[in-house]
């Protein structure tokens, strides 16, 4: 394996659906241990890019390296390193929180002992009462918290979160970001998409995708000062209008 300071490297990545080019030869890297915020309007190519990294979508051309491994050749190895929390809530609503954790732990390849260890860890975050509740009865913020726990079950090195704070109330959102920071503290690498523009400031670096192209990337404070803007919202408007709207 080639040593690399980048957890993910994307080179000339292209995705075409029929006649529609969703991702247009994009290049970027996610550095190990950083939080990279991935912003863009709907249909810009965020979820398509994330799905190609996870192997859920085939790439049309280009390459993706995860910890130096080409995801076209080593997907089985890479899948063990990646945790993915999808935009669409994907837990089973009629199962309890405990049953969901057991089910997803099982398909993540955890054995009984590992699953027991995970429950010990999770026990510090979720009460017994919560573990017994059906997922459909949980408020949105708690559901997202459970979805994150499930995504972390195989202890991935790289975590991809697709709009994790959507529909979450403000206090839970702050708590959710505290979770994200504790993952960073444990040297995890995070790629986070969001529709909350203020969350861009919570990231180490941000990247804006528009019409399938990366139109801006860098540290939030630097981007603001380079573009003479005082808020991410103004910066976002400026960048998108400079590159033409959909």
């Amino acid at each position: 394996m080639k040593p690399t300071a980048n957890a993910i490297e994307v080179h000339d990545l292209v995705k075409i659906f029929g006649h529609f080019q969703a991702v247009k030869k994009i290049n970027f890297a996610v550095r190990q241990g950083e939080i990279l915020g991935f912003l863009g309007p709907n249909g810009a190519g965020k979820t398509t890019t994330i799905k190609m990294i996870t192997g859920l979508l085939n790439i049309t051309s280009g390459s993706i390296l995860v910890n130096g491994l080409d995801n076209q050749k080593h997907m089985a190895l890479i899948k063990k390193k990646i945790g993915y929390m999808s935009q669409k809530f994907s837990l089973y609503p009629l199962l309890t929180v405990r049953e969901n954790i057991e089910f997803f732990g099982g398909i993540s390849g955890l054995n009984r002992k590992e699953l027991r260890d995970q429950f010990t860890r999770i026990g510090t975050q979720l009460s017994d009462e919560l573990l017994r509740q059906r997922v459909q009865a949980l408020p949105p913020g708690i559901r997202q918290q459970v979805a994150l726990l499930v995504c972390l079950l195989p202890d991935p090195e790289i975590i991809l979160l697709d709009e994790p704070t959507s529909g979450v109330d403000p206090a839970m959102r702050r708590q959710f970001w505290n979770e994200i920071y504790s993952l960073k503290k444990n040297n995890k690498t995070l790629l986070v998409t969001t529709h909350h523009l203020d969350e861009a400031e919570y990231c180490d670096r941000v990247m804006i995708i528009h019409n399938g192209k990366i139109v801006l990337q860098g540290e939030p404070a630097e981007l603001l000062s380079q573009n003479r803007q005082t808020s991410i919202e103004e910066l976002f408007k400026q960048v998108i209008s400079a590159h033409g709207q959909n």
């Binding site: 529909g167 505290n178 404070a221 919202e233």
Partner: protein, 296 residues
């Protein structure tokens, strides 16, 4: 313009709206904000008579409407949370249809249609099926449909939820233009950064009003000071040091390269933690919300 007094509504065991009183001021943007299930949509449905309230009164220009909701609906345009136009009709056909059922005079309608299509940036898409529009465009079309009757009061239930940031910004720009035209707007949103753009804000939690005031007063009355510190060295170690300062546990959170903390007492951190800079900040609406939620 409108005053809601002690409105309550219960669905089986759930008290969706619990003794809510609020004022919608003429010519202003009033934002009702809160998490999913806070009672925003139920409250709006009560206001336009789609849901019957259990108790309380609605006053229009100082007079109790006594369940005569036509007094409200005759002056308002209501845009529900769920997209409710015809997906198989084009943008233009939808506008034609809604103008017909609202009996907008033909000549006036043609002018208005052109104006609305231009204002919302939908002119190039007027022949497109509504079902093929993006989420943001659908909401602009729904807004245009209610503006056909030139309502004095515009009631918008979560028009920007799930809509991407750019469309949200564009939508709110239209709302601000409507305010400049003298319209009264009441809108719900779960996004507090959007709520900050309102003149008045009502924060709901579990069916109750947690806080309501003008945006300026909500921030002015924030009872603590907020600081942003750029730490020197390992941010997690500095974060721990600040958390260990008596009175600051639970008042500290990270934000990118910075640490933010809320201080109620006279602690002076400048000598206690290694830092590059400490800046005092004005609270955001999110800070206000979290502060009051914790207190309750």
């Amino acid at each position: 313009m409108i005053r809601l007094e002690h409105i309550s509504k219960q669905f089986a065991a759930i008290r969706a709206v619990n003794d809510v009183s609020l004022t919608i001021k003429k010519g202003a943007i009033t934002i009702v904000s809160g998490a999913d299930g806070a009672g925003k949509s139920t409250l709006f449905k009560i206001l336009v008579g789609l849901v019957k309230k259990d108790s309380g009164a609605i006053l229009l220009n100082g007079e109790n409407i006594h369940n005569d909701y036509t007094r409200i609906t005759s002056v308002c345009g209501y845009m529900p949370e769920k997209f409710s136009l015809y997906v198989d009709l084009s943008v233009e056909e939808n506008l034609n249809f809604f103008a017909a059922i609202q009996q907008v005079p033909r000549r006036r309608f043609e002018e208005l249609k052109q104006h609305l299509l231009e204002k919302t940036g939908m002119l190039p898409f007027k022949k497109r099926r509504a079902g093929d529009l993006s989420g943001g465009m659908k909401q602009k079309l729904a807004l245009s449909a209610i503006l056909l009757s030139s309502p004095e009061l515009i009631i918008l239930d979560e028009p920007t939820t799930g809509v991407d940031p750019l469309s949200r910004i564009e939508f709110f720009t239209i709302i601000e233009d409507l305010k400049k035209e003298g319209k009264t707007i009441v809108m719900s949103t779960p996004y507090l950064d959007e709520a900050e753009k309102g003149d008045f804000v009502v924060l709901l939690k579990n069916g109750r009003v947690m806080m309501q005031d003008s945006m300026a007063m909500l921030k002015e009355s924030f009872p603590a000071r907020l600081f942003r510190i750029l730490p020197q060295g390992n941010i997690f170690e500095v974060m721990q040091q600040i958390t260990d300062v008596p009175g600051l546990a639970g008042q500290v959170h990270m934000r990118g390269k910075f640490i933010r903390y809320m201080q109620s007492g006279p602690e002076n951190l400048s000598s206690q933690v290694p830092h590059l800079e400490i800046i005092e900040e004005r609270p955001t609406l999110e800070d206000v919300y979290i502060y009051h939620e914790r207190r309750q």
